[in-house]
Subunit: 336 residues, 4 copies
Amino acid sequence: MSTLNGLIVGASGYTGAELAAYLHRHPHMNITGLTVSAQSADAGKLLSDLHPQLKGIVDLPLLPMSDVAAMAKDVDVVFLATAHEVSHDLAPQFLQMGCVVFDLSGAYRVNQASFYQDYYGFTHQHADWLDKAVYGLAEWRAEDIKQAQLVAVPGCYPTASQLALKPLIDAGLLDLNQWPVINAVSGVSGAGRKASMTTSFCEVSLQPYGIFTHRHQPEIATHLGTPVIFTPHLGNFPRGILATITCKLTAGVKAEQIDAAYQQAYAGKPLVRIYDKGVPAIKNVAGTPFCDIGFALQGEHLIIVSAEDNLLKGAAAQAVQCMNIRFGFNETQSLL
Amino acid sequence: MSTLNGLIVGASGYTGAELAAYLHRHPHMNITGLTVSAQSADAGKLLSDLHPQLKGIVDLPLLPMSDVAAMAKDVDVVFLATAHEVSHDLAPQFLQMGCVVFDLSGAYRVNQASFYQDYYGFTHQHADWLDKAVYGLAEWRAEDIKQAQLVAVPGCYPTASQLALKPLIDAGLLDLNQWPVINAVSGVSGAGRKASMTTSFCEVSLQPYGIFTHRHQPEIATHLGTPVIFTPHLGNFPRGILATITCKLTAGVKAEQIDAAYQQAYAGKPLVRIYDKGVPAIKNVAGTPFCDIGFALQGEHLIIVSAEDNLLKGAAAQAVQCMNIRFGFNETQSLL
Amino acid sequence: MSTLNGLIVGASGYTGAELAAYLHRHPHMNITGLTVSAQSADAGKLLSDLHPQLKGIVDLPLLPMSDVAAMAKDVDVVFLATAHEVSHDLAPQFLQMGCVVFDLSGAYRVNQASFYQDYYGFTHQHADWLDKAVYGLAEWRAEDIKQAQLVAVPGCYPTASQLALKPLIDAGLLDLNQWPVINAVSGVSGAGRKASMTTSFCEVSLQPYGIFTHRHQPEIATHLGTPVIFTPHLGNFPRGILATITCKLTAGVKAEQIDAAYQQAYAGKPLVRIYDKGVPAIKNVAGTPFCDIGFALQGEHLIIVSAEDNLLKGAAAQAVQCMNIRFGFNETQSLL
Amino acid sequence: MSTLNGLIVGASGYTGAELAAYLHRHPHMNITGLTVSAQSADAGKLLSDLHPQLKGIVDLPLLPMSDVAAMAKDVDVVFLATAHEVSHDLAPQFLQMGCVVFDLSGAYRVNQASFYQDYYGFTHQHADWLDKAVYGLAEWRAEDIKQAQLVAVPGCYPTASQLALKPLIDAGLLDLNQWPVINAVSGVSGAGRKASMTTSFCEVSLQPYGIFTHRHQPEIATHLGTPVIFTPHLGNFPRGILATITCKLTAGVKAEQIDAAYQQAYAGKPLVRIYDKGVPAIKNVAGTPFCDIGFALQGEHLIIVSAEDNLLKGAAAQAVQCMNIRFGFNETQSLL
């Protein structure tokens, strides 16, 4: 199997570093470059200067982003770990150069231009690509991903939430008149690598934020096809997400049916682990590419607990998983 | 105002230490003794040997529990920071000696003997005292507390949950056909001071537990008079509780009505802080005797966030608050 | 005893908040104002907006700093919790208005103008005040503090280090030909309340910094009168300092002599706690105004462990302790 | 290259789980069994029940230890992740069966039977094997390891300390009349996987322990051939070790000589990373098989900072590294 050339745009952040580590150990990938914005103070540094755990492993320099034509030369695959607006602008340029693009931002996740006006505060200019983009929820969209030129990789909260809810919704096991209540807690790395008071060590403490206003709420609702109540929290740990989801069951649904729906949905899907008993903790998934799902029910009430590493199954690992699917590699190549 | 003699039974735990610190600085209290069970390896040690932050402040010895008649001599007030079964047995003995008892266990919190069979696994033998016990949710039961000989002080989850929900339920602002969903995360001190794998440093990680089976669910439901879905989590921090509560509003209810209900319920109640905007974080309350409450709503959906220090407003501070009310001291004496 | 009017300049930080809490509960103090720099985005906010644990306790506004003459009117006592250069400029202005000034910065801690050139990067303009300033290591300088108009309150590392070493050096128990090795770990609050990559939650990890170059090394050495090797570390906890100090004993010195030196130095000094056995942990002192000291020796080698809350005995509590001493209040008034 | 059969004895702990994960992904290893003591409550459980991050990866059962002859059948390699006394007894039995044994306990680390009497409290019965055992400090003993039947893999503190000091001592760069001062902080996993008050979440806090009495002090001193002062601390993080080492330089030694000594010692040694500038933090090495070393000097004083993951380079990774060396595999096979 031939080797692909890959470029990571926006490589200085936590997700970029994880991507670089995965690609570095991928037998069919050759990293042709890591870039940061031309203005970044990190330009010229080594990735391992910023992320010293990679010293001696990925010591590549962070190149200042220049014109796309030059950067894309001989590149097969581009990962965009950039801000939404930046991805919005760059993706079409790389696509026109023939690259396959895996965008980890929100810029191409919802196929409605108005969505971006409402929730991201910018006017989407690329309805054509929005149309062609495939939502990279890997366990559910493998067939589309195989054909895609642009994959919009879903992020942390939507991945954990949808992997937990979609099998049950599709199987008609939930009474959706009562909206699922998703309470999710994310580690601080979810806020990105930057100086801010919000993520300052002494300020971080378990607290909800963005109540009723977080843009992942409509993303989840759109892709599930049903409204949800989504309450994100910032927790005092570096990485991981735990979503506790409370739902109403369709009358008469039993535990076996829930379990069967999960088994059926995720048979042969190595990165989703369904629990026979008990529910996951953050530590079960931190540092792993898995999304773990457990549940309990009583009467018509169901609690699902879904956990993942926000930087891995919620970002870099899912992007590489999509790439593996797209190019016919083993789905978990370099992830396990 | 005269000085009362106080005894703390079960003083070696985290709650016992907080109680001792409060009573020590209380101008109208004299600590006559701190006890531990006669079998405890801590008997004979100083409280400050176990809790070194109290060195030089409360250096009293932990006495092995002996017969109640001897221990209760000249004692006006007894705090039971003991296991449920121990409180169940001891409370009547101290009461018969004429002491006023503040029980921090669950043994007298619900006035139904069957409750203990179902949720605590023992047969309650003291229906008479169960009948007379006053539930020490201090902001709501002050008049009863003033007359009580036995106050069953509610613990961490029930206090945070009820203080948040009760004003709205009483005002008819919630559509209770849809059960309130209480997702709560507690610091590890809530599990008590003892060696266990569950609370071992490397094992602790954000995780739900006791889903649908935690005994605080029926306690909350009984006192609120309406069912709730309660999902407790263990979090990776030593102290504090944060409850995120999702409810359905009665049709047409506006934010102003929610706010008015809280203002009315807690006017003149110094230990409940209602937020004008935003919601509390754990750090806002850790180390304080407050319960902080904030909320947000959208359409018919309401999210309430309630936070407290599990060892203080969720245990020791509320016990002292009840004592202050009972004996006519300033409600926040020694707490602020 | 009359009530003093107090002003806190630079009140928005962690130390400022602790100072405000102490002064608020001080029976002989009236807070006349809390200020921040005129440019600060925090001007106009309440202190409790920034430090929500103080909501309902200290809800005073943060006033933009204006001219000193206006701010100092009717003010008896000023606490400067400001940057070194700011304190350098402001202290003389307040002193000229007749205020007693407690400066928590480094601007007046060492009575050598050249020190500031070498270690702080600015030229000291106020040699006269530098001359008159009393170093507020409270247990050691009480007689001078009582007379002082300007007290330069030592900070976190120097307090923990000097309280541990000074009794032994003064008693001639150490062989100083071998420099004492001070390894100290500070909580993140020691870096102040501001957004920075260094104190970003995901970046904090146990690590030494400022090796051989930290300005506290010459401060400690100057006041002890002997060189030391001082290696500070940033630790992954919000508050507290632990210093592990390795020294060589004068030939023949026994444990009893060490103990006697400490007992003699700190008899009647309520904020230094000497351990009979064992050594302190950070949790023993976090949230308390104490400095705890324990030691162990073997042959000619001595290990001293000194711990304090960097924001309290290492800042705000020591400043209030100095004020209590200066004005004849009980030394621990409002601190315990 | 043929595949070896490997057995992990004492597989339920944190080190055992890391070993199992490494061996599982090793292309030349086949795990024939994971064992726990016959009395363990974990016998019969899956490794992934105890360490859920391994679910779907290593789901092997934990077998109760039975007689060695049966367990050793067809086994080429045995890892003993057992208590010192257990390793002491088991190692000879496996050795007599012809297995190559990597012992992660202290039972064969020092080639003096009296050492065990003095520091481990038991009489060593196997002087012959003590004699033949090779100390598995991998970067230094590769030639011996290649021939060894019994490798005594050094643990966390000794590895970090010796890798930092040995090149400088061997090159004569240190004035050892002044004993090197090793201050080291370990994550809590270093204390093993068990319920205890010491490692209880709410009790853990930065604190020295075992001052002058820790058995790693004589182990380090013996292997370095020079006395040291070693002060271990327990830190509030799950994994990692940071050692800050203060030494006196031989007169006239310059930074370049230090650097040259490290470069020479560790050229071609991929698991030791020497820093050009700056010093490591715990996060640089947690989850990696590296030991990172940086230093700073001033005059005759040298500070070395050495960091590693206590469970990896300080235990499991070094054991696998030794195995790779022993059997001629790539030294970092399955580690990177």
